[in-house]
């Protein structure tokens, strides 16, 4: 689900990371929906070689997914045709601006080695275990054998924590009910410069993307299955499965399996591709947002409890946008809290009262999950209402934006409309206590599409003077509006960034040359003039401001788009 400026931002990110040619390919896919190879070439006006290499890069980085569709022949006797289509996965493209955040997150949990491993995967998109080991060795200037065990250990930790996963199938079939109809609906779409924030086509397209992703995804059990050679290192599902078959008759099979496993191990390390599992990173950040919200709205104690609950049930979540966590009994919660570093000394009473506090607040951070659990299961169970928390956060963010952008009175009117539904201008003026200014304020909000107005004709001739005008704030529309503005602002930050760099190209190149010479060991005879030094200082300060602003802005984009 990308808005108009979301699409622009996608193209922009690709342009910065992979250059103009790849961008043209992405632009076609983003604006026109899934396309076959020939069509990409036609629309992008690029040669097939260029398209091919672009697509390979994009697939490597999970920005594009291929899928096959079987078309019926032109006539009943004609053979069926199989066509491969390519679809852009805009979510994954957006994730590219979050890489720094992912790295920070993984370092927090697993230290620097893990960070470097993930960094490698982010840089190359997909790698085999063998390649990962090679890369680490090269970086540390050591032999592969020296680092292999250490890498494998880190690798296992990351797979177990689900931060990395096996890559999806490269070209799945899409043969659920009539995909062609969906495709024909989106494929004809020309690029839309302006228009509604989210068109019907966007929604259809996002449906296609979801289905393709689902078709390509490995089975949940395989997704985080360690390479065979390392199965013993982690708690893999396959272990327990094998232990069950211990009958004598099975024994031979097991031996054969072991033989197989040796070869399989080699194949596994050399051929199975791994990539970063963005979902898990998102989940972690989403949890963090929930915990932070509770910390500011309630207190630290409550946030420790909530954090422990989320941790304990994390593995049971099936989607990033999970509404509720799996219910946890009071005992379960206590155990979970005591097993976290922050909560290990928390007295039972304190935990109980925090749970009460979380459950009784009007946002409903957690709720009792059905009395039916009964005392047998340790009394009441509670689950975290992540959805409620995220919604509350979004609401407060929207209101903050309205407040700062349009002022206190506009914000009051906006909140009034969100609460009351529809009102006439006069009523709004009275209830928001702004009878003089209400008209100007409403038109200001209308212009920026934060409120809507509807004419209800009292006469059949639609005489405007006699009509009633009802104002309302459609919250869903506002959410999309805000999201689009966020994308727009992010695009502008990126463009300005590129522009500033371009302006100072000369000096920056000079700096690079000097650095290179220094590295080569020659004394730098040439130094920068003081003016040039100023320039370098300025550009590094500016790019830093822009970078930091983009990362912060992206936190809000995550809140509105991914959580």
């Amino acid at each position: 689900m990308a808005t108009a400026f979301g699409r622009t931002l996608c193209c922009n990110l690709i342009q910065t990371h992979f250059g103009d040619v790849v961008e043209r390919v992405v632009e076609c896919l983003i604006n026109r929906g899934p396309l076959a190879f020939g069509d990409i070439s036609r629309y992008s006006e690029l040669g097939s070689e260029a398209v091919k290499s672009s697509i390979l890069v994009l697939i490597q980085h999970s920005c594009v997914q291929a899928f096959k569709v079987e078309h019926e022949g032109a006539s009943a006797t004609a053979p069926r045709r199989v066509v491969t289509y390519y679809v852009a996965i805009s979510d994954n493209i957006f994730h590219r601006m979050r890489f720094p955040k992912f790295l920070v997150a993984v370092r927090e949990d697993f230290g620097e080695e893990a960070e470097s491993l993930v960094e490698g995967l982010l840089e190359h998109g997909r790698l085999t275990l063998e390649q990962i080991i090679q890369r680490t060795a090269a970086k540390a200037a050591k032999a592969e054998g020296e680092v292999a065990n250490e890498v494998k250990e880190t690798f296992t930790k990351l797979v177990t924590a689900r931060f990395i996963e096996r890559c999806p199938s490269p070209e799945p079939w899409l043969n659920q009910k009539d995909p062609r109809e969906l495709l024909s609906k989106v494929a004809r779409g020309a690029s839309k410069v302006r228009g509604p924030v989210l068109s019907a086509e966007d929604i259809v397209q996002s449906e296609v993307v979801q289905r393709v992703i689902k078709a390509a995804a490995p089975l949940e059990t395989q997704r985080f299955q360690l390479p065979v050679s390392m199965a013993g290192l982690g708690v893999s599902d396959s272990d327990s499965q094998m232990a069950e078959g211990s009958q004598a008759s099975e024994k031979r099979k097991l031996e054969a399996l072991e033989m197989d496993m040796k070869t399989a191990a080699a194949v596994d390390e050399k051929e199975v591709l791994w990539r970063v599992n963005f979902e898990e990173f998102l989940r972690k950040m989403r949890h963090q947002t929930c915990v932070d919200t509770v910390k500011t709205e309630l207190d630290i104690g409550a946030s420790v409890v909530l954090s422990a609950m989320l941790q304990a049930t994390r593995k049971d979540e099936t989607s990033v946008r999970q509404h509720h966590s799996v219910p946890l009994s009071m005992d379960g919660i206590t155990q979970a809290v005591w097993s976290t570093p922050d909560g290990q000394h928390m007295p039972l009473e304190r935990i109980r009262s925090s749970v009460q506090q979380l459950a009784s607040d009007k946002i409903g951070y957690i709720s009792r999950a059905g009395e039916r659990a009964g005392p047998a299961l340790g009394g009441n169970s509670y689950s975290v209402n992540m959805h409620n928390i995220i919604e509350a956060r979004q609401k407060s963010e929207v209101e903050g934006i309205v407040l700062q952008r349009f002022g206190r009175e506009c914000c009051r009117i906006f909140r009034l409309l969100v609460r009351k539904g529809q009102l006439e201008q006069k009523q709004i003026g009275e209830q928001a206590m702004a009878p003089k200014t209400v008209k100007a304020l409403l038109y200001c909000l209308l212009k920026e599409q934060y409120v809507q107005v509807q004419e209800i004709a009292r006469t059949s001739e639609h005489v405007a003077r006699q009509s009633i005008f009802l104002w309302k704030a459609d919250y869903q529309v506002v959410l999309h509006r805000v999201l689009d503005d966020l994308y727009h602002a992010a695009t502008n930050l990126c463009l300005r960034h590129a522009h500033e760099i371009r302006k100072e190209q000369e000096v920056l190149e000079l700096v690079d040359q000097l650095d290179a010479r220094k590295d080569a060991g020659s004394d730098a005879h040439v130094t920068l003039t003081s003016d040039q030094q100023e320039q370098v200082k300025r550009i590094s300060r500016i790019t830093k401001i822009l970078d930091v602003s983009l990362l912060k802005l992206d936190d809000t984009i995550l809140l509105f788009h991914d959580f």
Partner: protein, 282 residues
């Protein structure tokens, strides 16, 4: 003849007194069959402001003007009286000149003249309305304009007094902050006692203020608590305020007036944007 007229006049007045709530034309016609005499008598009385004419439904009724009132209206023309009556009927809502014209069927100059006369004698007054500032309505001099006309307590001289509203809001907020929890009555009592205003504020007005404070995110509404019963609406300072900063509005584009017109490579574009120049230059 003259004595006949005098007799008739007295008879009319007697009849008026007998029918204090209005003497119908029908009764007059029955009692004084001489139409010629009757009309002369009535014209005489009307010209002397001793008699007033009303319509009650389809009937015409007469009343004797009491002496005090008679003095008040002495020398006014019948047109003036017609205008006066229309204004009187509008009560404290007042009436606009266009409506006066329609009611009385008089021409604008006649109405203007009548209004001038009436205003000169302090019988009626012109009042500005809040709904339309350039429009004046007329009402009897002694009446207090209705809330629709003045706008209520928040209006000073027909002008919405935003400053006054702000002062009262601040006072209410301060009181709640000090008090922790308070219901409407307690707030109203405290503000009235504080004497910050001479204006009479009713509970209704205080409710309006509190609703606004809730909408501003400054206070929260809760049911009961402390000494209040659980069905009393109470107010306390809001737990979480509307955020004062956000990532979006911290960068120029977030508060940019031309955000919608700004397109990459367009007339207004991020590359050439002056807001960015300023933001990045300090």
């Amino acid at each position: 003849m003259a004595s006949g007229l005098a007799q008739t006049i007295n008879k009319v007045l007697d009849l008026c007194r007998a029918h204090a709530d209005g003497l119908p034309q029908k009764v007059l016609d029955e009692e004084i069959p001489d139409l010629e005499l009757l009309s002369q008598a009535i014209n005489f009385l009307l010209s002397k402001q001793k008699l007033v004419v009303f319509t009650q439904g389809d009937n015409i009724v007469y009343k004797e003007q009491n002496t005090e009132v008679a003095v008040k209206f002495k020398g006014l023309t019948s047109e003036d009286m017609l205008v006066y009556q229309s204004i009187e009927a509008a009560a404290n809502q007042g009436i606009w000149t266009a409506d006066l014209k329609r009611r009385t069927n008089l021409q604008q100059p006649q109405i203007n003249k009548a209004l001038k006369n009436l205003e000169g004698r302090s019988l009626v007054k012109a009042v500005k309305t809040v709904t339309n500032k350039n429009r004046k309505v007329y009402m009897l001099f002694e009446l207090t304009p209705s809330r629709e006309v003045t706008g209520g307590a928040w209006y000073t001289e027909q002008d919405y007094d935003a400053e006054f509203v702000d002062v009262v809001k601040q006072q209410c907020l301060q009181f709640i902050t000090k008090q922790g929890l308070a219901d409407l009555q307690a707030i109203a009592d405290a503000i009235r006692k504080s004497g910050i205003t001479q204006v009479e504020l009713g509970l209704e007005e205080f409710k309006q203020i509190m609703d606004t404070l809730v909408l501003d995110g400054d206070v929260d509404e809760t049911m009961g608590g402390e000494t209040y019963s659980s069905d009393t609406v109470c107010y306390r300072v809001a737990k979480s305020r509307i955020p004062e900063t956000s990532a979006l509005t911290n960068i120029p584009c977030g508060i940019c007036p031309v955000l919608r017109e700004c397109q990459p490579g367009g007339l207004i574009s991020p590359e050439t944007c002056v807001y960015f120049d300023q933001w990045l230059s300090f």
